[in-house]
Amino acid sequence: MLEMRKDIFADERADNLKEVGQPTQRQDMLGHVTGTSAYYDDHRFANLLHLKILRSPHAHARIRSIDDAAASRAPGVKRIIRAADVPVNLNTLLSLIQFGKDDEPSLATDVVRYKGEPILGVVATSERAAREALELVRISYDPLPAVFDVEEALKPGAVSVNPVYPKNTFEYHGKYDHQKLRFGAVEQAFAQADFVSEERYQMSPIEHAPTETNGSIAVPDTNGRFTVYTSTQALFFSLDTSAKINAMPSNQLHFIGGTVGGGFGGKVDTLTEPLAILAARLTGAPVRYRLSRHEEMQFGSPRGAERIYVKDGVMRDGRIVARQVRAYFDAGAYTRLSSYAVVKCVAHIPGPYTIPNVHADVFCVFTNRTPATAMRGFGVTALDFALECQMDKDAVAIGMDPLEFRLLNAYRDGDMKAHRREAKNCALIECAQVAAEKANWPLRDEFRKMSSKKDGGAERAGVADRTRMSTPAAPVRTGTSAPQRVTYERPAGSTSPPPIQSTPPATPPAGSTHGVRRFSSVFGTRRR
């Protein structure tokens, strides 16, 4: 059960808080246990129509022709929705924050790029009628070669998946095909390391599988507006995306949601609302677009599959002196949120460890798989899996206890991170100590006495000269008495233009960042 370890960092927190640290009942709990919480589909409307979507059976194909004549005459069918009916039939989610180019149609026009891609909609008086009508649509396809492997997709001559990004890589800041991190000099460090380990990690896509599938109901209001009941995790995001795709002012949309039957990132993509609204517009009736479980699995975006290569240089005394990461995020056929996952991944490299030489290249790659999106710590979770596996292997290689190995290398207050920011409020050491205690994992005394607040900075993680390898750090002193806080001398403003993670221009002391140019991985260099 919940245990608050208030003895740790006791001096950093006021302990007279009423809610923080106290168990509090969820405000929706009574509704949940009585079956009265109203999810999007728990709203009833007379004459509700149902939208079902015809989906591509091919991973990559050209659509030669679509014959929906029989379907449009089928019993109960009110309207066929075709690509040409969609007012703005190209979008990317993060266009709302000016990140990335519109690359995904709501309904495919000439080419389908993954199995499950929407092609055409049928609006009918019942879900059954809509499903039966879909069976009557005839589409002829010219199958195209497809690419399913991230590294294959980057080879010269590879199948081009997404015409907006013909080279199969997302484009950062209009010109870069991947995100970089450079700190110290890994090659020299590898040359001097006692052990070098190199491994490859491959993740599979993971479906969020919320118990409630994605869905929404769009209802024409009496004043020309539409009320939309939705399962979205991102109400305003979905509202603006729907407004954009339907070319309508966002004040014509009233979104109602918040009671979500599980999301985990699988309900941020605005998968159903735009077409539900379009269908309601075209028929003048309330329309529900609810994914079946099969659609949720096939069309609902998963956590992307990542391929991660990690190379570590480790000293016999346990210090990690270099870490190199090369990773490929499988975005699937369209961007959705993978581009951002890559940024998060690079921001997390090299993990919560102080390593003087770090080098990373991370790519967001397009393939003919279901587009991937956010899921619980996306960009970070898979990387952490790879890094922590690697940590275990490193520890075994040098004959060190894996937990002590982590404690030794963990960030401490005052350390310099590979991103050239000072590590603050570190707590990994304390977490690991408590975990060891709970698991009855024996730690030697000096490791039990380690602290995030002691011995950080200085030569342990100093960056004397960023272009050459830093002087090998002196052996870590453990169990020293005086806590030693070191303030970093920030490197002077670099003049070189940013390859993505370049040095930020001189940062003034904390506390006054206003008006300063700051580098953001998403937006580039900006004034604050």
Partner: protein, 158 residues
């Protein structure tokens, strides 16, 4: 073709017309208006739609509604007796055994089916009772703990 269907729902006689071949889940939600029953897969795999038919747990999404003619059906809407919560409901609240709440109606009914027949279940009994119900949020431990708590709290039957 519409067909009439009549059964007892939470101790009330109810009747509706539905398309023949409809599943019980749709009839309860669309026909009768009991929205306490949720659907998550419409193929029998998630357990969200679990209701009791003559006291036994059934997946309403793969139960032909017409086969329930004249039977007695229980849903979570009938679990609470007036203002008083069922011990399972109280225990679920106290144990934080729900997060999004979408699986909860099915979990509660699966658990009720167990407690109705086995007032003193073992942990293993509880695990078996809810093993067809998927919860993606909470983790099963708080749910198991809640069911065991509810069994201890419930007035003893003979």
């Amino acid at each position: 073709m519409k067909t009439s269907i009549q059964f007892r729902l939470n101790d009330e006689e109810v009747a509706t017309f539905a398309d023949s071949g409809s599943n019980l889940l749709d009839v309860l939600r669309e026909g009768i208006g009991d929205l306490s029953v949720k659907g998550g897969c419409w193929q029998g795999t998630c357990g969200t739609c679990t209701v009791l038919v003559d006291g036994m747990p059934r997946l309403s999404c793969v139960t032909l509604a017409e086969s329930c003619e004249g039977k007695s059906i229980e849903t979570v809407a009938g679990l609470r007796q007036g203002a008083k919560l069922h011990p399972l409901q109280t225990a679920f609240m106290e144990r934080f055994a729900a997060q999004c709440g979408y699986c909860t109606p099915g979990m509660l009914m699966a658990a009720k089916a167990l407690l109705d027949r086995e007032p003193n279940p073992t942990r293993e009994n509880v695990v078996d009772a809810i093993c067809g119900n998927i919860c993606r949020c909470t983790g099963y431990e708080p749910i198991i703990a809640a069911v065991l708590d509810a069994a201890r709290a419930a007035p003893r039957r003979s």
